[in-house]
Structure formats: C-alpha cells, structure tokens
Symmetry: C2
Subunit: 427 residues, 2 copies
C-alpha cells in the first residue's frame, strides 16, 4: 500500500495529538483511504526538548527547508499558531506545492483570503476545520450539508475559556476574577487571557463561520466585539432569577441582503439548547431556511479533539490526492453582503441601571423609553446600596438605533448610570 508522507510544523499539544492519532489509527485510515499515512519530518524550535510522544523514527529539525525541499512530503500540518511567521511559513509551503492543514484561526480569519488564493494559484489545498470550535466538525458540515439551503443565522458558544468562566459564575456564584483564576489553574485560560475574555478569539471564529455560512469576508475591526471582563456576578444572578443564562455568544445573521455579526454577552433562556452547554464545551447552532434549527455540540479545544479535526482534514486531503481532485477551495461560497443598517438589527435587551433611590427616577427612564419608542417586558428593582437603587429591565424588541438613542439620553441624565446592556435571545 502506498504511503503518504506528512510534515508537521509545531509539536505542542495539538501537534502531539496529531502524531499520536496518525500512529494509532493506521488501520482505519488505510481502510478508508487505501493509503498509509506516516509523519516523516517535524519542525520544532528545540530538537533536544523532552517530548511526551515517541518521535524515534521521525526527523526532528529546526529547518522548514527540510520539509520544503522534500518531494516525498505531500501534506504539511501547521500547528505553530500566531499570525507571523505562520503566514510566511504557509505561503512558502503552498508555493512549494505542499497541501496545508492548519488549526490557526487568527491567521485564517485575518489572512485566509490571501492564503486561499495562493493555494489556488499553486493548485494546492488549504484546509482548516480545526480553526473553529476544536472538536466540532462544523466547517465541513456547513460546506457539505447546507450547500443547498440558505443559512439565515449561525450563532454559538465558540470560546471555551469564557464559557467556563461564565458557567462557574452562574453555578458557583463566584466573581469574574475568582472564576478566571480557577480557569487559569485548570489550564482552561492562559496567563494573559485577553484574546479569550475580550471576545477576540470568538470574533475570529465568527469571521470564519460567516464566510462558510454566508460567503462573506468580514473584518475584525468592522465587528462589534464585547468580552466578559466587566461581567458582574449581580447580573449573572439577576439573569438567572429571570430565567436566563448569560453566555458569550457569537451571532452572525443574514438581515435582508446584508450580514450582521457580533460577539457579546447574551441572555439565553434557561431551556434553550445553548443554555445547557457548560464549562469548556462549545456549541454552534445553524439555522437554515429549509432545515430549521440544528445544533452541533462538542469539546471546543484540547489536544486530541483539535487533532481529530486536523486528521479529518488530512484524510480528506488524502482522498483528494488519491482521486486527483486537489486544488479546490475548502469553501467556495462567495457572496457580496450589503451593509446592515442599525435600525434593522433588532433584539430585546437586558438593561441594568443604577439610580438614586428617590421618587421620580423611574419616571425619567419611562419617559426616555417612550421618547425613543421602546417598551419594557419585565422590570425589577433589585437592591439598594448607599441610597442607590439597581433597576433591571428586559425590553421588548429594540433596534440598535434605539439602543444608541437610549444610551445618549441616559448619558444626559447625571443621576442614572447604564451599567450593562446585553442582548436577550428569544426561545
């Protein structure tokens, strides 16, 4: 049986998982693809570092050229992470006619278009199933199984760190800082958690999901991204009492001919499937015009789950090589999207307000809401601290224009502070 040789760039958790899976699942892979797979060369920073995986028959090197100049290596897996020099590495590999598999969401979200065109020029494949939601096979599923449907919305919990923190806040009544510390101790959050807790990692994934779902190319700086760094336990508890679970959701929706995408904390009804996704798990909900609501749930990160997605790309690539069908884009759905007007983006909102505990304050809020044409569905005065009252409101549908007007009007009232404004998901 012919053997297809693989190169790896990077040998961290995911790289080790890939190596392990290629070794352990030879029989099944051969059974399906008719080829043997074997990792030949791995580019690492330090060839002498102790590894937990067996690399005895593998060439460890610091030189990318050892892969580039090796005609035997057909598929290369990039798991070094980061944008530079990963971009230059992948570019060099594609130009050397290697098929590339990567798990690098930052890179694909920001440079994917350019890298895809380099791949196409070289008649090579660039696959990146593992870049979104680690172990959930969501990208290939959208490509293959929603091809004839119009996806109207894709939303989900696509960051495990923040979901872990929010789950802990909700279930253990601990503060954001306590939950973050616990996440760091357990390895679910990095020592610098910025990318995760500020929603940037989730936004990268939503850019890729939007591209597959709607054919659009969003840019990070065009998206509104709100993280969970300022999340108050009070709001998590208040939401819970009102029957909601706070989740950091990425939402991308087709509105008329445009696509709206955002990342931020959202109140999800407790009996909604997304409310039951806890801790480091991820879930993506895809709504199609024909199919309705579908949900894909699984581990969002971790060495082996992510490695499994990398392997699904490698097997796919192996089939392409066997069938002689390389050089087709992973996703070739392209569609221009119009700009979505703020007045078209409509959600109910959860508003948390602080105001002096004296008569007449609620009247002011009610007058503002009436002025901007918005209305309440629920209102709770929660507690008093130092002569101030905390008032929580769940509104009926409001447009982003109305929300901006509300913020502006409240800014003009010195006595009333808007502490939080989160979207509310309908059931």
């Amino acid at each position: 049986m012919e053997t297809i040789k693989i190169g790896l760039v990077g040998l961290g958790t995911v790289g080790s998982g890939v190596l392990q899976m290629v070794e352990n699942n030879q029989d099944k892979i051969s059974n399906i693809t008719g080829r043997k797979l074997s990792v030949k060369t791995i580019v690492v920073r330090d060839v002498h570092k102790h590894r937990n995986v067996d690399t005895e028959n593998i060439h460890l090197t610091t030189e990318l050229d050892d892969i580039i100049n090796d005609p035997e290596i057909k598929i290369v897996v990039e798991v070094m992470g980061g944008i530079h020099p990963a971009k230059e590495t992948i570019t060099a590999l594609l130009n050397a006619k290697k098929h590339v598999v990567t798990a690098n969401k930052d890179l694909i979200a920001s440079e994917g278009e350019e890298l895809t065109s380099i791949a196409r020029k070289n008649k090579c494949d660039l696959m990146y199933e593992a870049s979104v939601a680690g172990g959930i096979p969501i990208l290939r599923t959208i490509v293959n199984s929603f091809a004839a449907d119009q996806i109207t919305e894709v939303k989900g919990i696509v960051n495990g760190t923040t979901n872990y923190i929010l789950t802990q806040m909700q279930q253990k009544n601990c503060s954001y800082d306590e939950a973050l510390q616990k996440a760091q101790e357990l390895g679910f959050a990095e020592s610098d958690p910025t990318n995760d807790v500020d929603g940037i990692d989730a936004a990268y994934k939503m850019i890729i999901l939007s591209q597959f779902s709607f054919g659009t190319h969003l840019k990070l700086d065009e998206m509104k991204i709100q993280g969970i760094r300022k999340m108050q336990l009070t709001d998590v508890e208040q939401a819970s009492q009102l029957g909601y679970t706070v989740k950091l959701l990425g939402i991308a929706r087709r509105i008329n001919d445009g696509v709206f995408a955002e990342v931020g904390p959202v109140l999800v009804p407790a009996d909604h499937p997304l409310a039951t996704i806890n801790n480091e798990n991820n879930a993506v909900m895809v709504t199609g015009q024909a199919v309705g609501e579908t949900l894909f749930y699984g581990p969002g990160a971790g060495g082996l789950p992510t490695a499994n997605s990398v392997l699904s790309d490698i097997v796919s690539e192996t089939k392409n090589i066997v069938l002689g069908t390389t050089g087709n884009s992973f996703n070739n759905y392209q569609n221009e999207a119009d700009h979505v007007k703020a007045s078209e983006i409509v959600y109910p909102y959860y508003l948390s307000l602080k105001m002096p505990d004296i008569p007449g304050q609620m009247l002011k809020v009610t007058q503002i809401m009436t002025k901007i044409g918005a209305s309440f569905s629920q209102i709770v005065q929660t507690r008093n601290d130092n002569d101030s009252a905390r008032v929580v409101i769940i509104t009926h549908d409001m447009s982003k224009t109305q929300l901006a007007q509300l913020k502006e009007e409240l800014d003009q009232k010195d006595s009333i502070d808007l502490l939080a404004a989160y979207k509310v998901l309908s059931n």
Copy 2:
C-alpha cells in the same frame, strides 16, 4: 453553465420539498458546484392529482422507463418509500447508470449492502444522508469528520414520533394512549404507528449508524428492540422524581472487538444533553476515542429538513460528476465485529416491581439480588393499590446475564411481578 438534469421517483412531502429547494436555491448551488440543477421528470402514481408545487415545466409520468431511457438524467432521487418496489426501482436505475439518492431507511438498513454492490458494479453512486435523522447531517459527518478517530459509541434519539409521545407524557402527565392520539392529530404519528412505537424505525436507523460508525452490517432480527407501547405514566413520573427523563434511545457500542446495538426506553439523567431534546426533534451523540463526546441535534423529519439532506447528497453527487469521482461508496469503512457476550454488556437498571404489601417481600428481592451478585443504588416504595406495593429500584451496574438471571428468579416467585426493566444512562 452546464445543467445537470434530475429525475424524481415519488412526489410526496419530501419529493415536493426537493423540487422546491432545487428551484429556490439555484444561485447558491451554481455558485458552489459550477452547474445548474434542474428537475426534468417525476414518476408519480397519478399524473392528474392536484399538487401544491409548481410542476408546469416538468414531465410527470407513471413510467419509470421515462427516466431510465433518458440519457440526459444523471441523478435520480427515490422518495417513494417502502422496500418493494423501491428496491427493484433503485436496482433498475443503478443498472441504467443513474446515480441514486434515497431517503429510504428501511430499504438501506435491510438491503443497503446489496444495493451498494450494484452501485459499485455500475460505477454509480448511491447516497442516503436523509435516511437517518431527517435534517441532521450525521452520516456524512461520520464519514468525513470521524475518519481518523475510533468511534466508541453512537447513541441517540432517532425517532421523532416516540420522542414526541414521551415528551408529552413527561411534561403533561398524560398516558401513552392520550399522547399517541395527540401525536396522530398533529401528524407526528401515523394512523398505524407500529413501526415507530415498537422501535423498528429507530432500529433501522441504528443499523445504518452502526455501519458508518463501526463498519459492521447488523441485521434487524439480531437486535434487541423494545418500543414504548407499554410505557406507564407511573414509570415516567417515578423516573422524573429520581432525576431522570425517559427517552427511547438507540445505542450502539463497541465492546472489546464486538458491536452491541439495541433500541429501548432508557432513563437519561435530567442534565444530560439527550434529556433536553424534546418533542419531534432528534439528536445523535457520537463518542470518539480522541474527540470525546459530540452531539448533533436537529429536526428528525419533515418535508423540508429531509429534503435538505437529500439536496446535500445531490450537491455532493454533482461535485463528484464535475470532478469525475463517481463510483466511490458513500461509506467504505468495513470491519468485522465479534459477537458480544451478554456478560460484557453492563448498565445500571431501573426496575419496577409489584408485590403484595406484606412483610418479607423485600427480603425476597434482596436475597435474589445478592444471589446474582447485583446491588441497589436507590430504592423507593411508591404506592399501594389493592394491597399491593410498587417498588422501584435503581441498580448499580449489572450485566445482561445478571438481568436474565434476575428475571428468571422473579418468575419463580409467584407473588412478585417485574413490570419494567429499563437501562439507566450514567452522566
């Protein structure tokens, strides 16, 4: 742009959905496949029957030969259902070198192996994504995304009718008969619900899922299949009080080198993802050695969701035609499975017992459990009717051998009746 002509055999709910989706999503399909799709001919029983879909430019006929003898038609969708004459129809189509897409689970589960080999002989494709869990793209996901992983278990709610009935019993405290009647009124159950409520439909789907997950070919008569026809509201309520939801689950598990598959009512912990799947929805949980637990949730039936799965096959087929890669099996994972011994199949059980409300009865039960080496984790004496007591037991892990011994021992005690024995899922 080249047009690929499609034939349909059958024009019921799914057929109409397929027709509608091909018409409505031309742009996206062309964008992805580089081909236009068009339904040319539809075989129906009565060409004069009024239809809710526009068939003006389509040739309606009662003659399959109108498709067989038309070289322009490349892909044929069979949505007539049933085993005969569907099998003969598909055989004739494949022998005429047509690629076939079907949603027919009964046929695929029982005759899939033979039809696949006829397809292979003719270098044609036979695809059947819609045959399992309507709108959930589960088969292609297993093929593509678990290719390099070892699936250890696939289980789920794969029948919408029974899930609707059980959900109603649980949420509305109604009897099986009342829930069935409501399901029939709403069109979720057929007037003869046998195939659904006796678990046969679910078993067919588990046969197909096992084939994709483990490469095995199970037979219906080799599987233990238990339906919900005898489900008592008392047991649903009792399970609920103990923190469980009763679901009709299909379970297929790799045990050592064998595969064990069964359909039956199972007590699922209330916070398990499968417990939250309500009414007519379906969900399939796939556990992989590397990836861990993943869950795929969506509509289990319905014209458009099922049509979407048919369309994913059509688009896939169109890509194969364009790339010249037809003639490869939908699933080519093949693996011999050993027989699994009853002593190796181990679960906790929910046992519902009826016994006279007199001293000494519980001692008898305890003695039997001790004799067979099994033990209790929970025990509840629930109510008394006509001098009899109802005792509910949740056991620790018990093998099927032990369960059989227990039944035998209880049979010998005239005074104690085993009313129900259901598996319990661990969290």
